[in-house]
Symmetry: C2
């Protein structure tokens, strides 16, 4: 039983696995002009967090959502300028996360509406930190396995990622760093039930519901 | 004296004034394909907030910073799906804000490092909400006026902006919504002292210092 709760801001990172880099293809042309040299971050603020068992209502007009399974590192203390060697000492535990995004074609504007709508980050309870190197995350939609991803494929392992981010951004106790989502994760429709699981970590379950206009 | 403190996440918006839209020029070509139809948001998490009188140390390697003067609306209660008519009822007060960004050429990647480094959001104490329509914000660097901007120039007035954002994102008590920063705001060098002021709101003062490697 881990006492640390998730209480702050959640930070996520894209393109932190070799499969996603391969899928997105060359980033050499404009406007990117080269593959990323530093972690490419996004933020999921407090309004996005919901617990296991939640019904997530999509924003009005949306009828499907991308479901990216990942693991979050939960900070046990304020963490700035950590090194790869000691970074995991600041981690109190881990969570299973289902990072939800509305499908969007353009990556050229900050995708705040698409990634930060209310309830767009179901999180499991906090579990003890374990070795993540060979962990496999399984995503099921309505009982069918739609994705399995292995964390053996990460570009930056959790300790390295946390060190690189904390170099210029101090994380607070209760903040969470998601270790990476797959590019073009599976999509679920309103009405679907999702289950994300990993050996030794149990599962995270939630349901998608259609949004209604205000 | 306003009792509400800033305690949560700060949200900001770009391109919410006609002068900035004019300065950035046509957005009709790829990759933008048209001027924004919804507020273009960014997030300043808790690590960015510092008080009046602070010394802001730049990230290692940076020697100048863009200083965008703006006003923040401080939420007095949780606020979701507000209408323009009642949105300001959820606002407990306002702050003067100096939104700091590292100069960066590309707008094609999420500018988290550039906008979210530790201390990159000096905020004044919370003042009573007043009529912002004709307010003029003055920015001085080392005693010289470098910018004056009038809030008469906003595309979305504060109530409309808050209504549009809260349609899909519930803001928490203590969260702040910045009402817009100017495109290409003045730059300050390490060692400079900044003063942002407005009639009736006093001033916000801070100093920029050079970053040191970890």
């Amino acid at each position: 039983m881990i006492k640390q709760k998730v209480s702050g801001t959640v930070y996520g990172v894209i393109l932190n696995d070799h499969a996603s880099l391969q899928k997105i293809g060359s980033l050499d042309e404009a406007p990117y002009k080269g593959a990323p040299k530093a972690p490419v971050l996004y933020i999921k603020p407090a309004n996005t967090r919901v617990a296991c068992g939640s019904v997530v209502e999509l924003p009005a007009g949306a009828d499907s959502v991308e479901v990216a399974a990942t693991i979050g590192l939960v900070m046990g203390r304020a963490a700035g300028r950590l090194s790869s060697g000691n970074a995991l000492d600041a981690v109190a535990g881990i969570v299973l996360a289902g990072d939800l995004s509305l499908p969007h074609a353009s990556y050229y504007r900050p995708a705040i509406r698409e990634k930060c709508f209310d309830g767009s980050l179901p999180l499991s309870s906090v579990k003890p930190l374990s070795d993540l190197a060979g962990l496999v995350l399984t995503t099921e939609i309505d009982g069918q396995v739609v994705e399995q991803r292995s964390l053996a494929d990460l570009v930056r392992a959790p300790a390295k990622l946390l060190a690189d981010v904390s170099e210029w951004m101090t994380l607070s106790q209760g903040d969470v760093l998601l270790i990476g989502v797959r590019y073009m994760a599976p999509q679920a429709k309103a009405g679907s039930t999702i289950r994300i699981s990993a050996e030794g970590l149990g599962s995270l379950n939630f349901t998608i519901a259609e949004g209604v206009a205000a």
